[in-house]
Symmetry: C2
DNA sequence: CGCTGTATTTTTGTTAACAATATGTACGAG
DNA sequence: CTCGTACATATTGTTAACAAAAATACAGCG
């Protein structure tokens, strides 16, 4: 479960989307797996309507590929050159966020971010790696959202998803927690350059 | 092949989406305008189902903003710093495409691209600026798709849309055609550096 | 006159039946 | 035996009715 962190109110569709993202990223749903709307509807106890919405959403995020009158299937990994491009673009976005955030983070933000990292540590110790991934993303999400609101989050999100799809192995060692702590410390002391360096090391 | 323009085998929903994008970008639908599903359904002669799909799609593209149980409205322009970021990211993507395409464009590609530019010129002379915008985009789309397939197009598209939303004025002078001709010529002679320069001048 | 709580209306969210398209299979001609 | 065609099945696309939520209108009260 997602800890006692202030879990936002999610619509039913958003929850389904979350679940399916997890399934795809964890590898439960392998690339090229064909999705069946009826099956999914039964599994989640809804009708096909909302399921179709979720599928459309995940397709736009790049996790699925849809063909007209045929259906959706799990997207496959990117070829290396595109993967490199994605990493570079995501770095640009996150560096922008950090630089833009200089002197704009309040004490409340730092508390929230530290709470996220505590949860990250906890999930890591429990070896709940699906949760680790989610919390990891939520840390970055916090910064991105603070810097550019929903608009920036919207363009950033597909990059994260696609990258996660590529590295489905558990890449998260102790380093994962440490890297984020380093970034947060740099942010706190207003050392943007170090924060950027830490970020670039973290996104790969 | 989806690089060919003449074959307009678009699904009904895609056509509606196209129409709505045009309406938004042309300014027919002003920012913050609230959309009514029933109205749209009647206007396009369909039921609300497909309309909802289109709305979801355009929301993911950043043209609309949706709120749960409330509905969708036209998104407003980005603030300047985000706008700059978007331009920079789009440039990165398109430069990647050009560099990646070196020595990979066939004669058939050049013919197709020239055809697009001829159409662009024609639309420009007819002063059909909505069409100019569409064809302009399709030129870039051709290169992006050739370089990175649907995946790359999918991440690239939102940037174009958001930029168009910001510059809804008719920015397209004669320069628009000329700029694209210059890019194509550079590509033809294998002069990547010049092509990149032309591209950067074109994306702004 | 402004405010508030409630009833009405409008709008979005969901569902299940129906239509159209693609897929799989059996059969027959060559 | 192979290829192609027609048929049967399964799956997606669309629709209209229904449920739930939000926006609006309005009456009563201070």
């Amino acid at each position: 479960m997602s800890g006692n962190r202030p879990t936002k109110i999610l619509s039913v569709k958003d929850q389904i989307a979350e679940q399916m993202r997890s399934d795809i990223i964890s590898g439960d749903l392998a690339p090229n797996t064909k999705l069946n709307e009826k099956e999914l509807a039964e599994r989640f106890g809804l009708s096909r309507g909302p399921i179709r919405d979720v599928i459309l959403q995940l397709t736009k995020e790049g996790l699925l590929v849809s063909k007209n009158n045929v259906g959706a299937s799990v997207n496959s990994v990117l070829d290396p050159s595109l993967q490199k491009l994605m990493i570079s673009l995501r770095r640009n976005i996150e560096v922008f966020a950090i630089e833009h955030l200089k002197d704009k983070l309040t004490e409340k933000d730092f508390v929230a971010l530290e709470k996220i990292l505590a949860d990250l540590q906890s999930a890591f110790e429990r070896e709940d790696f699906t949760e680790v991934t989610k919390i990891d993303i939520s840390f970055h999400n916090y910064l991105i959202h603070k810097a550019g609101g929903d608009d920036l989050v919207n363009i950033w999100y597909p990059f994260v998803m696609r990258m996660r799809l590529n590295y489905k192995r558990i890449t998260s060692g102790v380093e994962c927690v440490n890297e984020h702590v380093a970034i947060l410390n740099a942010l706190r002391s207003g050392d943007t350059a170090t924060a950027v360096k830490g970020l670039k090391a973290n996104i790969r």
